[in-house]
Amino acid sequence: MTEIAKIDNGTDIVDDLIVCIVNNRDYLSEIDGAIGDGDHGINMAKGFNICKHRIDGKNLSLAEAFETLSDSLMEGIGGSMGPLYGSIFAGWAEAVQGKKTLNSNEFKEMLLKGLSELQEISSAKQGDKCLVDTLIPAIESFKKANESGKTFHEALIIMKQAAHDGRESTRNLVAKIGRASRLGERSKGVLDAGATSCCLLLTQLIDSILKRII
């Protein structure tokens, strides 16, 4: 009766994440351009493309694929995005180590491990106008749905909406960290680039998992 997702094809799952970031390269840079320095899409696409080269043609487990993505970011781009997203994906990789399937609880653990790895190196809080404004509410909503007895499927749908709402919430925030913070009040009114890339990634991940629930 418990839903589980078949995640044995890690290469495909991560490849979909790569396509999603690379396709949104210019869009993400444009958003970053409004209140940042306009390179978020460039940075992300660079790292994700490095991963693309590394996984292409290989038949990786999800743990291996996440780890490759993490390394590609950490070793390929540096900056802040390397360690930040690199930590999230490293946490995910660790959580799904040895797994060929995921149930709702395991997926929750994966999300939480990614978050705790991120929080090891970043003290960014919700409301700072950054990627955690997407990440934290998305994870929390999944956790709540999961713990209140919603199915894996239902919880993923709820999480997708929360990621979307989280991204939208950044529109009215004043940036507290990152380059956008130089604008103070003027940083209000537009989306945050990291929150947007995070929403894109979570949404794609959710779709990939939904597709694989058997």
Binding site: S29, G33, D37, G38, D39, I42, N43, K46, M74, E75, G76, I77, G78, G79, S80, G82, P83, L84, I121, S122, I177, R179, S181, R182, L183, G184
Partner: protein, 334 residues
Amino acid sequence: MIMNRIINDPDLVVEDAIEGYVAAHPDFYAKTDNARVLKYSGSVKKGKVGIITGGGSGHEPAFLGYVGKNMLDAVAIGEIFSSPTAGAFLEAMKVADTGAGVACLYGNYAGDNMNVKMAIKKATAAGVKVKTVVANDDIASASASEKEKRRGVAGEILMWKIAGAAAAEGYDLDNVIAAAQKAIDNCRSIGVGLSSCTIPAVGKPNFHIEKGTMELGIGHHGEPGIKVVPIETAKEMAKTMLDPIMEEGIFEAGSEVVVLVSGLGATPVMELYIYYAEVERLLRANKVKIYKCYVGNYFTSLEMMGVTLSVMKLDAELKKLVNLPACSLGLVQE
């Protein structure tokens, strides 16, 4: 995206520039296993503490230009205005270690902090002892009560100079770290920005400074300053910048200091000297003695216009160390 720049692929400016540096100066640079790490190609005494740093590109001659004799032993090189990877920091740590450990002396930026932290974990696992000093000389980036939040700017050069000299003098790791820490603790900097700059891969200015205004306290990547004010004369600017430095309370009448005036890239050198003359006058009026000065493009931000002022207070030890000869592209001293 048409830019009046001298580049090939805008996404590969760092790689291409490194090629040029290595081709031009084999007497300074040797490649390593990491394409983003260069090490000093001259002879280094076994048992000398390794001095390394790392940071984003676009600040040339910082960071790689300070690799050399009695200066840095290796450097990790990031994308433009972006931290090097943890792997690059790690490689720099490894190649700089002669057995006496490594002093990693870098600036207080989120990316650098994260990447250095990760690198140290792996270096330690690999048996390389690393200690750090995190430069936080930029008084404009946080108040004195939140000193740990302040960014590192041109004062880093003085920190490297002191640490490089200390290592050359045979100090052990703890004492090199102590000297570097003292250098940066004794140093205060502030910058003023008069125009923006364009990262080649982005193709449009990083931020904007209205004509007729200047941004006091701007960071090396265009981080927000304290305020935007109408442009001042060199004389007024010197006062506007020196006043908050003096208010830090570490420079008293009778102090001897090093002054470092650095252009941000596009400000003509003659203007740096016009500015220096005013700083010198003001310090003299404050009875602070300039023991040594550096004026030039020491720490730039691509083609930004503007200037940074750094003042470091000396004691007997720092005096001795700052006077030691050094030879790197960015700083030569006989």
